[in-house]
């Protein structure tokens, strides 16, 4: 019995989102023993199959697209993966959502999977949706946790409204298809590293499976990436005009950070959509998010759930953001931010 997890590669390693999905997969596998629904209720005395000592009744396997030699085995071992399936195909040169799903559908049988897990990324959600359609199985997207229940079902907690609302759900399916809300799960290592066996797997693909495939080209990189910035300076309706973002950009520059904006700002056309932080924009996870003139609608807050510290600057002490921030300055950002810029420049000996 196996929890099969789609692992996306990032350079030579595994993508951070996939490491989180692997941690989620381990929890799910471990729950099979607690609920008595796993293959082997032997309470760890007789590890089943290739499980390492002390592992529960289900093991975690990874599916990685690419040659066996390029499987990030070190990262997978740390994450407790016992088996890695390297999907090799001459026809499969890049990302092809339907072909990936076909390959995983074959692997469900080959690996005796009871669940397929992927990070809720564009690739993870898309591939699992195809897999769900191919196999005629239900799919639960954006799960924060999943466990076997004693009634043979799965108990899930799902994110709705991008994490602003939680849904307790039951999933009744012979094979559970789950994507993992990346914000909700940490990329923790396994208690005991596993020994990874790499299997080369050649899927049976047709031309139709490969009809939709990605052509990749490097995006033009410019400035600090909003998604990975250590500091984000945010501006909302309170900025008042397109010209008002100058001071915020200067502040972001002084802090080595990026400018983010709320949905109102992009809907007005004041700033490009790629700077939007929120449910329909970019998710950020900085050390510091300084939210200026932003009311704190849930659409926006969903984008900064992973921020370590949130500091709000707002004229309204009753704005929703004050109930979500760690610290707040009550005042007009158009006065506070220029004064802050001056203070930081003085501190840095710049003026």
């Amino acid at each position: 019995m196996t929890v099969l997890c789609l692992v996306e590669r990032d350079g030579d390693g595994a993508a951070d989102a996939s490491l989180r999905a692997l941690a989620f997969s381990r929890e799910l596998a471990a729950s099979s023993e607690a609920s008595g629904t796993g293959g082997d209720p032997g309470y760890g005395e007789e590890p089943a199959g290739s499980n390492p000592p002390g592992a529960p009744g289900e093991n975690v396997a990874a599916v990685v697209f690419g040659p066996a030699a390029e499987v990030p085995a070190g990262a997978l071992a740390v994450a407790g993966v016992t088996d890695a399936y390297a999907v090799e195909s001459d026809a499969l040169t890049g990302y092809a959502p339907l072909a990936w799903a076909r390959a995983i559908a074959e692997l469900i049988t080959a690996s005796s999977a009871t669940a397929v897990v992927a990070a809720a990324t564009d690739h993870g959600n898309e591939v699992l949706a195809h897999l769900a359609a191919i196999t005629d199985l239900p799919m639960a997207a954006n799960c924060a946790s999943a466990a076997h229940a004693s009634d043979g079902r799965y108990r899930l907690v799902r994110h709705r409204w991008a994490g602003s609302l939680l849904e307790d759900a039951a999933l009744d399916a012979p094979v559970a298809l789950l994507t993992v809300a990346v914000d909700a799960v940490a990329a923790t290592p396994a208690a005991v590293p596993a020994k990874v066996t790499v299997h080369a797997f050649r899927p049976d693909l047709t031309d139709g499976d490969l009809a939709v495939c990605a052509t990749e080209s490097a995006e033009r990189a410019g400035g600090v990436s909003l998604a990975t910035a250590r500091v984000v300076v945010g501006g909302g309706r309170g900025v008042g005009s397109p010209a008002g973002f100058g001071a915020l950009e200067e502040l972001a520059g002084l802090l080595g950070g990026a400018l983010g904006v709320s949905r109102v700002v992009t809907s007005q056309g004041w700033r490009p959509h790629k700077q939007q932080v929120g449910q329909t924009g970019t998710r950020i996870s900085p050390e510091l998010y300084l939210a200026c003139g932003i009311s704190g609608a849930i659409q926006h807050m969903a984008g900064c759930l992973s921020a370590r510290h949130i500091v709000a600057v707002n004229t309204d002490p009753d704005a929703p953001i004050i109930a979500r921030a760690d610290y707040a300055v009550i005042g007009d950002l158009n006065q506070v931010i220029p004064a802050l810029v001056t203070a930081l420049r003085e501190r840095a000996g710049l003026s």
Partner: protein, 274 residues
């Protein structure tokens, strides 16, 4: 170019999500409803495509009778026809929703000779975020599909020998879509033969405001109605709840520019100043 755009009516939740006492729904007594943001962009995209290439936009929703309001909002943006798949107000899961949409699409058919050339969706609904309805509809109709698209170009036939390539249903007289998105710093581009299913994300365009003539036309438009049969499915909602820690209160550092020294000290404490 005949385009079907599927939209969802969702509550406008604003600053806080409130759940009904039975934990089954979002409390909407104090909020209005709107079309989910990605889907509003799908409608705008469809209107722009038909303005360039001709054809009509049909906007479809599955929901209660009141969801006709959202269809009229979208008709005011320039969609030509509205289709309401009316429910009794219960929340439908993604499997049943996709099946009902596929049935509705089959009524007109897909492909040349008056069928839909393109089915557009939002990438995921703002409320349930199931991420699968467009893909399931594509499989039900045997169409190619790509999701999370931020840039879309449609070309009609006659654009050279390349238009005859590819596989699939052959496309509406050789029309194709070039759809792209950014994924982890890389641009991914997809080339699809039409008819196809594509889901888009906000940012692909900036939806227009409805014009006055648009609103008047929308008010008078006839909305086609069907009543698909509800089906339960393997994923069942049990309880909705607001995550813990939602109602803390920020420590107030001060008022106006007087708070600047406290801000600088705080940034030093966080280790974000060099």
């Amino acid at each position: 170019m005949e385009i079907l755009v599927c939209v969802k009516r969702v509550p406008m939740v604003g600053g806080k999500v409130v759940v009904t006492p039975d934990g089954q729904d979002v409390d909407t007594r104090m909020s209005g409803f709107a079309v989910s943001p990605h889907e509003e962009c799908a409608v705008e995209e469809a209107v722009q495509i038909t303005q360039r290439l001709g054809g009509t936009v049909t906007v479809l929703t599955l929901g209660p009778a009141e969801a006709a309001d959202q269809l009229r909002d979208m008709l005011a943006l320039g969609a030509g026809h509205g289709v309401l798949l009316e429910t009794d107000g219960r929340e439908w899961g993604p499997v049943a929703t996709a099946a009902a949409i596929a049935d509705a699409a089959r009524r007109r058919g897909v492909g040349p000779d008056g069928g839909y050339d393109l089915l557009l969706f939002g990438n995921e609904a703002a409320d349930t975020g199931d991420y699968q309805v467009p893909v399931r509809v594509a499989h039900a109709l045997g169409l190619p599909c790509v999701t999370a698209i931020k840039n879309l170009e449609i070309t009609e036939s006659g654009a050279g020998a390349g238009a005859a390539g590819g596989s699939g249903a052959g496309g509406a007289a050789g029309a194709r879509a070039r759809a792209s998105r950014e994924y982890r710093g890389i641009e991914e581009a997809f080339d699809l033969a039409l008819p196809a299913v594509i889901s888009v994300k906000e940012g692909i365009n900036l939806p227009r405001y409805p014009s006055l003539p648009g609103r008047l036309r929308a008010k008078r438009a006839v909305i086609e109605q069907f009543r698909p049969e509800y089906r339960g499915e393997g994923l069942r909602k049990e309880l909705l709840r607001v995550p813990p820690g939602e109602s803390k209160r920020a420590e107030i550092l001060g008022t106006g520019t007087d708070a600047v020294p406290a801000l600088v000290r705080l940034f030093e404490e966080f280790g974000v100043l060099s």
